[in-house]
Symmetry: C3
Subunit: 276 residues, 3 copies
Amino acid sequence: MAAQEEINTWGSKSWTYVSSLRQQSPLIQCITNLVSMDLMANTLLAAGASPAMIHSILEIPDFTPHTQAVLINVGTLTPEWLPAMKAAGGLANQLGKPWVLDPAAVGASSFRLKACLELIELKPTVIRGNGSEIISLSMASIGSTKGADSLHESSDAVEAAKSLAKSSGAIVGVSGSVDFVTDGQRVVGAHNGLPMMQKITASGCAVTALIAAFVAIDPTRPFEATASAFSVFSLAGEIGMGLAKGPASLRMHLVDSLHGLDQETVLERVKITSFS
Amino acid sequence: MAAQEEINTWGSKSWTYVSSLRQQSPLIQCITNLVSMDLMANTLLAAGASPAMIHSILEIPDFTPHTQAVLINVGTLTPEWLPAMKAAGGLANQLGKPWVLDPAAVGASSFRLKACLELIELKPTVIRGNGSEIISLSMASIGSTKGADSLHESSDAVEAAKSLAKSSGAIVGVSGSVDFVTDGQRVVGAHNGLPMMQKITASGCAVTALIAAFVAIDPTRPFEATASAFSVFSLAGEIGMGLAKGPASLRMHLVDSLHGLDQETVLERVKITSFS
Amino acid sequence: MAAQEEINTWGSKSWTYVSSLRQQSPLIQCITNLVSMDLMANTLLAAGASPAMIHSILEIPDFTPHTQAVLINVGTLTPEWLPAMKAAGGLANQLGKPWVLDPAAVGASSFRLKACLELIELKPTVIRGNGSEIISLSMASIGSTKGADSLHESSDAVEAAKSLAKSSGAIVGVSGSVDFVTDGQRVVGAHNGLPMMQKITASGCAVTALIAAFVAIDPTRPFEATASAFSVFSLAGEIGMGLAKGPASLRMHLVDSLHGLDQETVLERVKITSFS
């Protein structure tokens, strides 16, 4: 009975994010990797946000103050892009705007790991990665990643995530067959989703963007925003899977479904439960 | 009766562009933003053109002379890309080739505004933007844009567009629920389209690319090419919408429909009318 | 009868690649052009590989040793990207890892031609291009290309391909209405495919990525891997075409079909024949 009530509360929270996003259409600045730009922008548009892929360091002083949230993703990081990421993250922090870090493939190199650790010093509101990425960040070591794909189930990374949340002050979200969210104390799991979503490139990047959009709606509750975004995005995948014949059509139907989500479906099907 | 004849004339003009593009397959060099490359190239291929996303300044002297038109889009501008844009626009102008400017999100920063004003000095044949972008350019001021999305209806921008057309010598096209085209004196409106197209990232970039391809077919009539491209692209969207379930499937069906457009449909459904 | 047996042998070889790729999921590092990243990553994921679009020169010493193959594609080459391409190709060669070169639009400029000739000195395992690209490389001359699209049928390029294979030591694959593969002596043709695949941007880039993934499965047989990858990718296109209404839906159904290919279909429909 308690569990049932909890599910209903999360469904209602999630629907508030979905409907508010459609009404308010916050401006989300994305400094992201070259692979994900198209899916990320289309995900944000379908969900009702206004994406802006603006990454030149020269534009940050003029543009970032007008945004409602900033997303930084290091998936195709080069030394040329890092200063703009730091400038945008730092300015967001200074202005009290939420910003979200996606440490994509952080274990791929010491360069990338060092860059992510420096970005974390700029106080991201949320950090979202897969199990391997969160373990790499928490241990500050490389080699536990396989490119963009995870070698670890998300549940293996729960302790690493709690530790990273405590040390960084960020909400930490871990993608996997169950997505976990923690603030260092509380842990919730978002149980929506399906394995084929891992066959869509940049689906992790896209959910991070949706987290940024949800956090923009209510910057005071990033824990709730992160869990809701995980569940809503995966629910759109579940619905899309009903029409899909493989990963490419799933990608299309997921974005369509995100655009078309209605209150009844969100209330009924969002599945977020407490773990601690 | 006059209006009916006019519609028929535009339908016939538009079909000439569509069919000539399929026959001649002009080579269109695109120096564009990182978000739009995939949709832009696929739009050009579907319409019958041959796109080339070649943006290194080192290649412009060898490659640009072989193209039939050049497209420049500043959507993810950085200082590193600007010299190549200027070189390509300048060389196109010098060689008498048409070139088209998309001042994407020009109001986002003073850096971007200055870059666009410098590019306009290189005499683009056509400038295509949304209402906010054209107003920013015309007033040479920033802040009237919301990232890539417009805060203004295209009709608000008609006077700004006429002014920009006169000062620049370019045909100016303004995207919106009705798309407008002006040479500073004449104004026509292209009435095809549907609101969901604004939920597809880079749809504005893609129509600018189609304008470049149509202008390549007959560089002496950029006004007609721009109005026809607006209407044909939006008509493909209207047809695609019949099969779509949301923005991602609309994007797919739009490109398919552009590839499959037939004469009868273009003659019947292109809706371009005079406004002055 | 001999031909029939040969077809059956190639079907069986091709199926071995498909099924091994799904089981082993090799890590493929892609340093590729900005247009192709999304389709290339999704093609590799659909086929069972693990793509990593990691292109910073700083990351190559840490990351490239963990990969099973490297792909380098010069489609949007700039001077800033070339050193990383050389470092990755050179390190792959030094470590005995297979690497595959896609000389996209090599005839577009002397800069691009020189870069490709320098990359070939680093001993790629396979070179895959269209007819115009292979002729440009073989003659070391520019101007025989039209952007990314070919002006030559692949059959025109067979002698150029043999010559390039002999001089470079690489297997050379030539895309066209029939795809050819040669080691300088043997030539086989892969007869699957359909014309509309040329209306999908980056479809050539995607097949090169699949070649890299197949070569990763058995680095000692790049000739077989290249022919099989051509045929399997085109077969996925043939199956996808049954559901497609144009180039954009073909692209989607191709990726879905690649993901879903079964043994019976591969054995029956792969068509590779000997030419010398």
